[in-house]
């Protein structure tokens, strides 16, 4: 799976949790999930669990702590998938 495909899937997973639709429309790897997309921090765990289910990976607590931006999520998923 290419990074582009992972990115598209990540954005799709984030969509239901995003409060700032404008930021989502202009999403880039640098977009911060909590600050820019305004995803509730309590919901971030649901997002990461959705990553696990969608990509068939397991994310440890410590790995989850490294996810701040969309790019961080993509990088983490790619490192687990490949």
């Amino acid at each position: 799976m290419s990074e582009r495909e992972v990115m598209d899937k990540v954005v799709g997973i984030l969509k239901p949790y995003v409060k700032n639709e404008v930021a989502l429309a202009a999403v880039s790897p640098e977009t911060n999930i909590l600050d820019d997309l305004e995803v509730n921090s309590a919901r971030l765990v649901d997002v990461i669990l959705a990553f696990e289910d969608t990509f068939g990976i397991q994310v440890a607590d410590e790995d989850a702590d490294t996810v701040n931006t969309v790019g961080d999520a993509v990088k983490l998923i790619c490192s687990k998938v490949h």
């Binding site: 909590l34 600050d35 509730n40 921090s41 309590a42 765990v45 649901d46 990461i48 669990l49 696990e52 397991q58 994310v59 440890a60 607590d61 410590e62 989850a64 702590d65 490294t66 996810v67 701040n68």
Partner: protein, 281 residues
């Protein structure tokens, strides 16, 4: 509910924390303990005399807390519903007297207040330091939040008590909100094998929704329930499962609180009705 008998040897291994961080929290604990004879009676004075609060059944609550503490060496985490900014102070006051705390200092719970509310100036920073707080920025950088949680877990593994509001913030609806369960609380519990959770439901008689502080002269009711949450899942899924179990317990306690309130009001109404009937006769 009985406690899991865990001896000192069964205490969980301390989480990975640098020596510097360990020393920093232990230093904070000692500075807090040494200054407690000043700040603790002052804080109680503000609640009792300043706000004129009354905790219903305080002696019973304190006896129960003492019993829970003495039953086991296993880590103890207090999880409460959250309606006002001073809930943790009220709960601490309800569960022990200043005199008892001075000789049982680990029984005063460590808190994880939102930095923007409690550590926003040098003065509030000092106060939160003295009052066993580890300020955290909600939604802040994940690594920074994780570092605070690790310090918190370390303290609990050393026999200190901690307090968390598992809804993650004051309940905007005025009721326990199961869907806002913050997974951080589950992460703390799953990091501490055998961890006991003391659920505390707190509400004033006239308190209908969230606010800064309960109304002056409020009569405060507390309910306690000890639980040992477990999950068949691991990692994040396990943390979320445990957090949801705790918040569900708080929601159940809330239902019991309102049922009891309805019964109290019903019996008060029927008593006053009977008095009216008697005076009419």
């Amino acid at each position: 509910m009985g406690a899991i008998p865990l001896g000192i040897a069964a205490r969980p291994a301390s989480p990975e924390l640098s020596l510097g961080s360990k020393l920093a929290v232990l230093l904070q604990r000692e500075v807090s303990r040494l200054t407690a004879p000043i700040w603790m009676p002052s804080a109680v004075g503000v609640l009792w005399l300043g706000f004129d609060y009354e905790v219903v059944g305080m002696e019973r609550l304190r006896a129960r807390y003492r019993r829970i503490r003495s039953q086991s060496d296993a880590p103890l985490l207090i999880c409460a519903n959250h309606l006002t900014m001073i809930d943790s102070a009220i709960i601490a006051w309800a569960l022990g007297s200043p005199g008892w705390y001075l000789f049982n200092y680990s029984a005063i719970a460590w808190n994880l207040p939102e930095r923007r509310n409690f550590a926003y100036s040098p003065a509030s920073d000092v106060l939160s330091y003295l009052m066993k707080c580890l300020p955290v920025t909600r939604g802040g950088e994940r690594a920074a939040v994780a570092d605070v949680l690790n310090r918190f877990v370390y303290l609990l593994s050393q026999g200190e008590v901690g307090m968390i509001f598992p809804e993650g913030g004051r309940s905007r609806s005025g009721r326990v909100e199961i869907e806002t369960a913050a997974p951080g609380v589950g992460r703390v519990v799953t990091a501490l094998p055998g961890c006991r959770v003391l659920c505390v439901y707190l509400r004033g008689e006239r308190q209908e929704t969230f606010g800064s502080v309960p109304a002056r002269g409020e009569r405060l009711h507390l309910r306690l329930a000890l639980m040992h949450p477990r999950s068949r899942y691991f990692g994040l899924r396990g943390s979320r499962d445990v957090a949801q179990q705790i918040v569900a317990k708080l929601a159940e306690m809330e239902r019991k609180h309102f049922d009891a309130r309805k019964r109290r009001r019903g019996s008060r109404r029927s008593r006053s009705g009977a008095r009216r009937d008697a005076s009419a006769v």
